[in-house]
Symmetry: C2
Subunit: 245 residues, 2 copies
């Protein structure tokens, strides 16, 4: 996969949520970009760093990290292929969170200057970008609910539901299976738990036919997971798979 086909996917993502003209589509495909390969647990934007590019995830899983003073990490967002983890940096170039590759990743770095040209020339693109960052923000708001008001089992289940939907993981009857390239430590960091407790809780989820081994999530019965995770997909704003539940 090269940078150009990456941009095609970027366009696909934007048009899934926003309407763009042919001219606007073409200008997006012409965006300059630099491909970067990242190793698992590699930080590529540090806290407080000023960047002059926004990135697009082609392959892999990216986490947005924050931490408290005692060094406990908290993931505040997960980004899968198709996402732009720091599109907001166009507007706010100084990072208030770090970015890290959780798995092996391929990303595209797109200069702010080029993105700014697009947004000033094409209001529809500006709106598409705004909308994209808004969806991310709505997901973060749900994470507050998840971490603030659900127990460990429910939290994990909710995250698995969210990721299954975002990956658009296919059903086989009532069951779902997908690759989630993050470790139990990452899960703990995302859910405000300890790795030890994640391990224990995953064991308890296994009794409900829900397992996660070697980065493969297997969900025996989707509705069971939805029930445990207290999941309502509306906030994802995708419309995909609607009617399935």
């Amino acid at each position: 996969m090269n940078g150009q086909s990456g941009l095609h996917n970027f366009l696909k993502r934007l048009t899934a949520r926003s309407v763009l003209s042919d001219r606007e589509k073409r200008s997006i495909l012409q965006l300059p970009n630099r491909v970067a390969q990242l190793q698992p647990n590699q930080d590529f934007v540090d806290l407080g760093e000023k960047v002059d590019w926004a990135c697009y995830v082609v392959e892999g899983l990216v986490g947005r990290f924050d931490q408290n003073s005692s060094g406990d990490r908290q993931i505040t967002a997960l980004h899968i292929p198709g996402d732009m983890p720091n599109l907001h940096s166009v507007i706010q170039p100084t990072a208030t969170s770090a970015l890290q590759a959780l798995s092996q990743c391929m990303i595209l770095e797109i200069p702010h200057s080029a993105l700014r040209v697009l947004t000033t020339r094409h209001p529809a693109i500006a709106e598409a970008f705004w909308r994209d960052t808004m969806v991310d923000a709505m997901i973060v708001a749900q994470w507050v609910v998840n971490v603030g008001r659900r127990n460990a089992q429910s939290r994990i289940a909710h995250l698995l539901c969210e990721m299954a939907c975002r990956y658009n993981a296919p059903f086989v009857g009532r069951s779902v299976e997908f690759v989630l390239p993050m470790t139990q430590v990452h899960l703990a960091d995302a859910l405000g738990l300890t790795p030890v407790h994640v391990s224990r809780t995953l064991k308890s989820l296994a009794e409900h036919g829900i397992t996660m081994k070697h980065h493969i999530v297997r969900i025996g019965a989707w509705e069971t997971l939805v029930e445990i995770g207290d999941f309502d997909r509306d906030y994802l704003q995708d419309g995909i798979r609607s009617g399935k539940q």
Copy 2:
């Protein structure tokens, strides 16, 4: 205070973070708007409701609410005068969170149609709006860290720090005092705690010279609160009061 002076404050807020031309400023002041008065604990946008206006807080405190299936509420954002709690509804009209007045409030309802005219005509205003929603999003991300990785005392302290900064509460020597029109129940809902535990924890904070009584927060020594709350103001993107810490 009337609707017109409310718009002046709106403009002030926008120009504090973004640069606008005189023509753009004038068009903002000419925005049509409807004044609404709200009582404490009055819901004014319900979950899933479709609105055709965004609101601006002139006076009072507004909370964005979510809840899990067992009815436990979680506040995912607090909005003070100058904020637009649902500016994002311009882009995403169906609410994924409810809005509630926590105290007596006065808000301005501004039609989406009018806001859309502004954003398409003036890219700078579109950018200012985008930036405003981004700042909100960054605050939410910090709430995830707060709820996920801090204990009750630290959580409350962090919230008090945040609100002191956002209200731009004045110093008197090392101490700070400001009005925060929310109850302990609201605090609990914002921090993922129970009201009982909030009460106990506030008592323990009182030993550090930090009190909250009758909606008045008194902070004996700002640096003590910052220390307890593990607070780093960078995420607020305000620049105001910089150099104070």
